[in-house]
């Protein structure tokens, strides 16, 4: 540290409050961003709904009034309308719909985030590589991605699940792989804007290796679009998993999965038995909406 006298000699008198200023400002800015997020009604509404489902996923099995898998005796109780003993009524096998919806949150809230995370990691790595190297690598990979995106997601997932056999692990891998190219595109666009900035040139002038430049220098600067993309994809993943279960290739009965419940009960809607289908459907919709609300709030405050 130089003394003030020395600094005068060196050519600059410091303004006393100047040095502290920057750090204070940093802290305030971060706190400010958090405060903005917590003041964002969109985010708060989303987070409130989402937390209800998280609670169901963790403690649901312990607090529900009936066994979600039911028992042979339940059959006598089939298709009871919603009442004070069965809030959401019972299904064709006489199982409590409320218990099944609550406990069903667990599967979806483990499989969907895991699949999305896998897709995001794969996609980010792919996007960083193609965006950073450009040239032939980029051309080839992006054409493959284009071809991949032309095939409907569900068909692709179906083929893979049939080949590999349905299980939670397969669902995670299949959805992750299907999402990766979509996420790769977003990441690649962000990387293209970054790679021409002078800090990347400066890294090259230190002879840094490509993986360091990509993952240590560029990646932190493209995290914002990656986080937003993750939340958006999470919503889609929930839909995709429910769809696959509905088609019979996802989670297998008798697991209390929402897609499975809809599949098992939609046939009886025509008979006026709407409750075993409606409540799991509402659960899917509200979970997806809550994630979208949070994603909106995050992307708006991160600008």
């Amino acid at each position: 540290m130089t003394t003030p006298e020395e600094q005068v000699l060196l050519g600059e008198r410091p303004v006393p409050e100047a040095p502290r200023r920057a750090q204070d400002e940093a802290r305030t800015a971060r706190r400010e961003r958090l405060r903005l997020l917590l003041r964002s009604r969109t985010f708060l509404a989303g987070a409130a709904i989402f937390n209800i489902f998280v609670f169901c996923a963790i403690f649901g099995a312990a607090v529900v009034p009936y066994d979600p898998l039911g028992s042979p005796a339940d059959i006598a109780n089939q298709l009871q309308p919603p009442s004070s003993s069965h809030f959401f009524g019972t299904d064709q096998l006489g199982r409590d719909v409320f218990s099944r919806v609550v406990v069903g949150a667990r599967d979806i809230l483990t499989v969907a985030p895991a699949a999305t995370l896998l897709g995001t990691i794969l996609g980010a790595a792919l996007g960083l590589t193609t965006g950073y190297f450009r040239g032939t690598v980029d051309d080839v990979v992006m054409r493959i991605v284009d071809a991949f995106l032309a095939i409907p997601l569900v068909i692709l997932a179906l083929v893979a699940l049939v080949a590999l056999g349905p299980s939670k692990g397969t669902i995670i891998v299949v959805i992750g792989v299907v999402f990766a190219p979509i996420i790769a595109r977003t990441v690649r666009a962000a990387v293209l804007a970054e790679r021409d900035l002078d800090y990347v040139q400066a890294a090259r002038l230190r002879n840094e290796r490509a993986p360091y430049v990509m993952f240590a220098e560029i990646l932190p600067n493209v995290m914002a679009p990656i986080v937003v993309e993750f939340t958006v994809r999470l919503g889609y993943a929930i839909f995709a998993i429910a769809t696959l279960s509905f088609l019979g290739f996802g989670v297998q009965p008798p697991a209390p999965d929402w897609g499975v419940q809809i599949k098992e009960n939609y046939i009886v809607i025509n008979g006026g038995y709407w409750w075993p289908t409606l409540f799991p459907a509402l659960a899917i919709a509200s979970l997806v909406i809550s994630i979208n609300l949070m994603s909106d709030g995050i992307s708006r405050t991160s600008q």
Partner: protein, 685 residues
Amino acid sequence: MMMNGSRDAAHALEVDRLTVSYQVRGIDRPVLREVSFEIAQGEAYGLVGESGSGKTTVAFAVMNYLPRNGKVTDGAVRLEGQDLTSMRTAEVRQLRATSLSMVYQNPGAALNPSIRVGDQLAEAFELLGAGKDEAEERSEAMLKKVQISDPGRVMRRYPHQLSGGMQQRVVIAMALAKDPTLLILDEPTTGLDATVEAEVLDLVAALREEFATSVLFISHNLAVIAKMCERVGVLYAGRLVEEGPGSEVFRDPRHPYTVGLLRCIPRGGVRKDETPLDTIPGFPPRLGAEIKGCVFAPRCGLVRDVCRQEEPPLYALGDRRTSRCHFHQEAHTLPWNAPRQLIPARHENGAPLLALEKAAKTYRQDGQDVRALSDVSLGIKPGEVLGLVGESGSGKTTLARVLLGLTSPDPGTELELAGTPLAAKVQNRSREQVRALQVVFQNPDAALNRRFSVRRILGRAVTKLRGLRGRERDARIRELAHSVRFEEGLLSARPSQLSGGLKQRVAIARAFAGDPRIVLCDEPTSALDVSVQAAILNLLAELQSREGVTYLFISHDLGVVRYISDRIAVLYLGRLMELGDAETVFNPPHHPYTEALLSAVPNIEGAERPRIRLEGEIPSAAEPPSGCVFHTRCPRFLGAICEEEEPPLAEVEPGHFMRCHIPVEELRVLQTEPPSARYQSKTTS
């Protein structure tokens, strides 16, 4: 004087105690405080100030275009006696359609990219009630007035097909379409090259005479203001600190801020070995900070107790001059902030440290070969500062990237560092060579990773280039921070928390992390305010003389290049046009292109130099002119030989190289003659 005259018809614009606040995070932050000035009919008023001083806010307040979080909290803006701040939206719109015009800094963004130029311009006339055909006719006439030689063709084009200078002419034409009472020009030439800037400024001056429009000219460039405006106001931290006739304010400033600002600018051909640059200590106050007393007190060398207690009023100094300083009569005694140290110029003779032989670079673009560099041979001698000047598109940056190994030159190019060949690609260079050659980029915002702390930015360079770790690494980081006078306490800050000057210091420290032998400075000060620029130039000069490094200093600012360089190379269309000692290049005889460049730069003293204007645009590097590439714009064009034969780069005097057919003795005579005689000799030659 400031209070009365609200109905004075002599004033086109009267800004009266204007106070503007921006609401940021729920708190009102005043950005303009009691700013008062008036512009007479037909007068040009210049507003100067550094970034954050509130210049543009004044313009927006006058236009009634304040951003949504901004509001006029006090005072008035009167256009020919009508108060704009209390008007209804519809009335203001009417006024903007008929009497108020604004020209922005970036003409590319001011024009709609998807509408043809002619249609956009015609719209302005249609708004005034002209029919379609009439509007088109008048548009064409207007484009002629802004000196567009082929208006019919330009009207059918889209904005992106025009050069920056042409775009700005179109914007000016649009602004003048309504024959406005007041024309606001907000940094109208900041993004343009020197020769284009000179043309646009000439045009604005000529149009002012024709239209008798009052002008509010906003710029950070004091020389441009001095050239264009009769009266000048100096804005600092949202307050007008000094006002008066331009020539007098800059010759005999009466506010310490103006005094300090003028001392920061390398002007009038000052050089580092003759006149030092001063700096202004500290930082400007934060946006909307509450300040007791004089706003400039924390940075003022003349500060006394009363300055911290009482805000100085605007002292009237006679002759329509005012100063907001308690001690305005002593302003010129402001002590120097920077040490008045002189840095010796170097005239080395040894073998070059970095040599470039027959460098060429051809880009393939839309099926055309674009020759960004062509046959450039250049040696940088150890310990010198070689300045590289040229307009945009001259190949300055390509040359730098070739030297750095970021762009591969065409085969045949030879690079040598200290006598050993240097690989074209940075990946193929030895660690010693990588260490030896470092760079300071133009824009520190882009050059520093915004997610890293300063410590991490410097630390990585230290580890990678010097191989230091742990404690040694930390010691070196502190040493670097100290050498660029960067507070150690700020090492954990991220770039976004630092001012532009501090960021550039970090970038410089990073360049010096591995004890380089050559540092390429690519426009290192052009993104900075003048007072910060002076501090950075002083720092670079000091580091150079202390560490004995060599600089290749690229800049479009001739004053800066002249100040810091020992030798200067002038590039035009990828070719080296002139090379020699700084003073040799800046004094006649010089290459006609250098002559034109020098003549294009306005100076604060306002002294008129013999003016040479280059006509037209820089030709495209895809289709360079035959013979001498400069012949299409050369003010001293000889004849057929220039069109047919490319002149060699000849040594016309010891150490002075020039690429021109005109014999140097003839150039010497031509360039030292008075302008009128010169004109005749040109026509006879």
